[in-house]
C-alpha cells in the first residue's frame, strides 16, 4: 500500500516535469527518460576499474540513455590488467584504453580511484546507495601448486612476476634473481608465454616499451638462456593461443628446444582437429622440426606430460636449484582428457621457477555469495545468486580465462541482462537513489580521499613525461603515495 502511494507520488512528479518544459527539454537532451517512475534515472555502481568494469559501464551507458554509472577502483590508477597484466611488448592490446578513457569521460560516468570496496565501504552500503551493483573486481590471487618447496627463494608466481615488470605497486620489491641459466615456467597458458618471452627478448626491444626501468635493469643483467614451459597434459590440450607461440618462434637468436617424443602420434590426429587447434599444433610441430640453430644463443621449449611434485632446495636449504616433475600419461579423450602419473620422476636443474597455473578471485565481502571451489561469484548470466540488484562480470563471473574480447562480450552480456531486469521491474527503479553523493560523503567521514579521472590524467601526464625522456611511451609510477601526491597536486 505504501509502495503504491510512493509510485503514484513519483508519477505525479513526472507529470510536473512534463509541464516544466525547460526541465523536460533538459532531460530529453540526455536521450529522454524511458522509465517515468524514476526522475533521476537508474544509478549503477561498478566495482573494479579494469576491462570488465569499463566494458560493463560502456554498455550500460549506451543501452540506458538515463543511467548514471560510477566505477570504484582500489588503486589510484584505472584499467586493471590492461595496465598491469598485458605484456609491455603488446602495446596494440592496450589501445582499448582509448575506449575506456572515452567511457570514463562520458557525462554520465564517474571514476572513483583509491577506494577499497569491502574495506573503505561495504557492498551493503553500495547496494543501499545504488539501484544496482556490478562486481567486476577480477582475480587478484593466484592458484598455488601445493607442493613442498614452493616457498623457497627463486620461486615466484607468474602473477607477481608479471606485476613486477608491469609496475604493480605491490610487486615493486620482487627483484628476482636471474643469475641462473635455466628458468622453468609451470603452466602453458598465455601468461606463461608472456613471461618466457620477456625473459628471452633482447633488452633493446624491451627498452622501447612501457616496462619499468627497475625490471629492465634486472633483465639487462639476466643470465637466463633457456626457458622451459611445463604442462601436465599434451600438445593437443595446450592452453595458450597461437599468436603467443608464433612470437616465441620468431624471437631473435632463440631456437626451439622441444622433445620430439612429446609429439608422437600428433601428426595422425591433426586432420580431425578444428582449424584453430590444428594451426596451433602445426606451428608447434614446425618449431620441433626446425629445432635449434647453432647460432642461437638462447632457447625455449615446451615440456609436456609433466606435473611438478617438489621444488628441490640447494645446500643452503633456502634457495631453489631444481624441480622434480612426475611424468604423466593421458586418459580419456576430448575436453575430458586427464593427466595420470606413470610413477616415473624427472629432475630439472634450474634456479628460477615461475608458477603460472592460473589466477584466482577472492570473496570481497561476507554478504556476497562465493563459490570457493570455482573461485567465482555464483551467478546466472551475471545475476548474482540469491541477491537482487547484485550482478557480476569478467573474471569473478566466469573464472580467469580468455582473451580481452571474451571479457568484453561477457561484460556486454551482464550489462544487457541488467538493463532487461530494469525494464522488467526486477530491479526496482521506483525510488531515487543518492549514488556517489552518499558514498563519497561516507568515504570522507572515514578519511578516504578519492582519485577522480581528471586526477588520474595528471598521473598519466607525469608518467608520459618521464617515459619521454627515456624513449618509452611511459614510465609507470610504482608507489601509491607518489601517485596520490601527483593526483592531488
Amino acid at each position: 500500500m505504501k509502495r503504491m502511494t510512493m509510485i503514484n507520488f513519483m508519477k505525479g512528479s513526472v507529470m510536473k516535469i512534463h509541464r516544466l518544459s525547460r526541465a523536460y527539454r533538459c532531460l530529453s537532451a540526455e536521450g529522454g527518460v524511458r522509465v517515468f517512475s524514476s526522475a533521476s534515472g537508474p544509478r549503477v555502481c561498478v566495482v573494479g576499474g579494469g576491462p570488465a568494469g569499463f566494458y560493463t559501464a560502456q554498455q550500460l551507458l549506451k543501452a540506458r540513455q538515463d543511467a548514471i554509472v560510477d566505477i570504484y577502483e582500489r588503486l589510484p590508477v584505472p584499467f586493471g590488467l590492461v595496465r598491469f597484466g598485458v605484456a609491455p611488448d603488446h602495446p596494440e592490446v592496450k589501445n582499448v584504453i582509448n575506449t575506456f578513457t572515452q567511457t570514463a569521460q562520458h557525462e554520465r560516468c564517474s571514476f572513483y580511484g583509491n577506494v577499497n570496496v569491502g574495506k573503505d565501504v561495504t557492498i551493503e552500503e553500495l547496494r543501499r546507495a545504488y539501484h544496482a551493483v556490478v562486481l567486476s573486481y577480477g582475480a587478484e590471487g593466484n592458484r598455488s601448486m601445493k607442493i613442498p618447496g614452493e616457498d623457497l627463494s627463486g620461486v615466484f608466481s607468474a602473477k607477481d612476476f608479471v606485476g613486477w615488470y608491469n609496475g604493480l605497486p605491490s610487486n615493486k620489491e620482487l627483484c628476482p634473481d636471474l643469475s641462473s641459466e635455466t628458468a622453468v615456467i609451470l603452466g602453458q597458458g598465455n601468461v606463461a608465454l608472456d613471461v618466457a618471452r620477456i625473459l628471452l627478448s633482447p633488452v633493446d626491444m624491451l627498452k622501447e616499451t612501457d616496462i619499468t626501468q627497475n625490471s629492465l635493469a634486472v633483465l639487462a643483467g639476466s643470465n637466463v638462456r633457456r626457458v622451459l614451459v611445463v604442462g601436465r597434459r599434451g600438445p593437443l590440450q595446450i592452453a595458450c593461443t597461437i599468436k603467443e607461440v608464433r612470437e616465441m618462434v620468431n624471437l631473435p637468436n632463440t631456437g626451439a628446444d622441444m622433445l620430439p617424443s612429446d609429439f608422437e602420434g600428433i601428426a595422425e590426429a591433426l586432420k580431425d582437429l578444428p582449424r584453430p587447434r590444428k594451426r596451433l599444433t602445426e606451428l608447434m610441430m614446425k618449431a620441433v622440426k626446425e629445432g635449434r640453430d647453432d647460432k642461437d644463443q638462447k632457447c625455449w621449449g615446451f615440456r609436456f606430460f609433466r606435473s611438478p611434485v617438489e621444488v628441490i632446495a640447494g645446500a643452503d636449504g633456502r634457495t631453489a636449484t631444481g624441480i622434480r616433475l612426475a611424468l604423466n600419461k593421458l586418459e580419456g579423450s576430448g575436453e575430458g582428457t586427464r593427466a595420470v602419473p606413470t610413477g616415473q620422476l624427472e629432475d630439472l636443474e634450474c634456479g628460477l621457477i615461475i608458477s603460472s597455473i592460473g589466477y584466482k578471485s577472492f570473496p570481497i565481502d561476507p554478504t556476497v555469495p562465493f563459490d570457493p571451489r570455482r573461485a567465482i561469484v555464483p551467478n546466472a548470466m551475471g545475476r548474482v545468486q540469491d541477491t537482487t540488484g547484485l550482478y557480476c562480470s569478467g573474471w569473478v563471473k566466469r573464472g580467469p580465462t580468455g582473451v580481452i574480447a571474451t571479457t568484453m562480450n561477457d561484460s556486454f552480456d551482464t550489462a544487457r541482462v541488467l538493463v532487461q531486469d530494469m525494464e522488467a521491474g526486477e530491479v526496482d527503479l521506483s525510488v531515487n537513489k543518492p549514488g556517489a553523493q552518499a558514498i563519497t560523503a561516507l568515504l570522507r567521514t572515514r578519511g578516504v580521499r578519492t582519485v577522480l579521472f581528471p586526477q588520474w590524467e595528471k598521473i598519466n601526464a607525469e608518467e608520459e613525461k618521464r617515459g619521454k625522456s627515456l624513449g618509452k611511451p611511459r614510465e609507470k609510477l610504482l608507489d601509491v603515495d607518489e601517485m596520490l601526491k601527483i593526483a592531488w597536486s
Binding site: 582509448n98 603452466g187 602453458q188 601468461v191 601436465r232 548470466m381 573474471w395 580468455g402 562480450n409
Partner: protein
C-alpha cells in the same frame, strides 16, 4: 587519398614497427591494402588519385540484431575505417584499433566475395582463430580494404552471444589466463 593512406598507415604503425623488429623474413604483417595502395599510386599522378578517392562503393552490413546497415564508403578505406567513420552501431567493433591484436572486427563474407579478397596473413589467421563463430569465409575488417570490385557486397556481423558458463567449463581448469 593521401589522408586515407595516412590513416591506414597510422593504424598499423605499431604492427609494422613490430614487424620491422622481427628478424625473421616470414613475418609479414603488411596488410595487403597498404601495399596495394602503394604500388597503385606510384603509377598515377596525384590529380587522378584524388579523383579516385572520391569513388565510392556500396556495402551492406547484416548486423547482429538482423538489421541491415547500408553505406557508401571510399575506395581504399578498410572495413574498420568504414565502421568508425560512419559511426555504425556494432558493439565492441575494433577494440585494438586495427593493430591485429584482437578479433572484434570479425566479419563473414559471401563465398564469391571472399575469394576476391586475396591471401590472408598468418597473423590475421592467428587472431581469427580466436573469433567467435569462425567460418571458412571469415576475415578481420581491419585487414580488408575497399576496392571497386567489392561494390555491393554483403557482410554478416557474427553473433557473439555465448554461453559463458559452458565456455568456462570447457576450458582447462588450470589454463592460465590472459586479458
Amino acid at each position: 587519398m593521401s589522408a586515407c593512406i595516412l590513416r591506414v598507415f597510422l593504424q598499423r604503425a605499431a604492427v609494422m614497427r613490430k614487424a620491422a623488429q622481427q628478424t625473421f623474413s616470414q613475418t609479414r604483417m603488411f596488410p595487403q591494402c597498404v601495399t596495394e595502395i602503394n604500388t597503385h599510386s606510384r603509377g598515377i599522378n596525384t590529380f587522378t588519385s584524388s579523383l579516385r578517392a572520391e569513388e565510392k562503393v556500396a556495402i551492406h552490413f547484416l548486423n547482429r540484431d538482423g538489421k541491415r546497415i547500408s553505406v557508401k564508403a571510399s575506395i581504399g578505406d578498410s572495413l574498420l575505417d568504414v565502421v568508425v567513420n560512419h559511426d555504425l552501431d556494432i558493439d565492441g567493433f575494433g577494440a585494438c584499433e586495427g593493430t591485429l591484436a584482437c578479433s572484434t572486427c570479425h566479419l563473414i563474407f559471401e563465398e564469391a566475395v571472399y575469394k576476391k579478397l586475396g591471401p590472408v596473413s598468418d597473423e590475421e589467421m592467428d587472431m581469427l582463430d580466436l573469433a567467435y563463430g569462425l567460418t571458412d569465409t571469415s576475415r578481420l575488417g581491419c585487414q580488408v580494404c575497399l576496392r571497386k570490385e567489392l561494390d555491393g557486397m554483403i557482410l554478416r556481423v557474427p553473433d557473439v552471444i555465448s554461453d559463458a558458463r559452458v565456455d568456462s567449463e570447457k576450458e582447462s581448469s588450470t589454463a592460465p589466463p590472459k586479458v
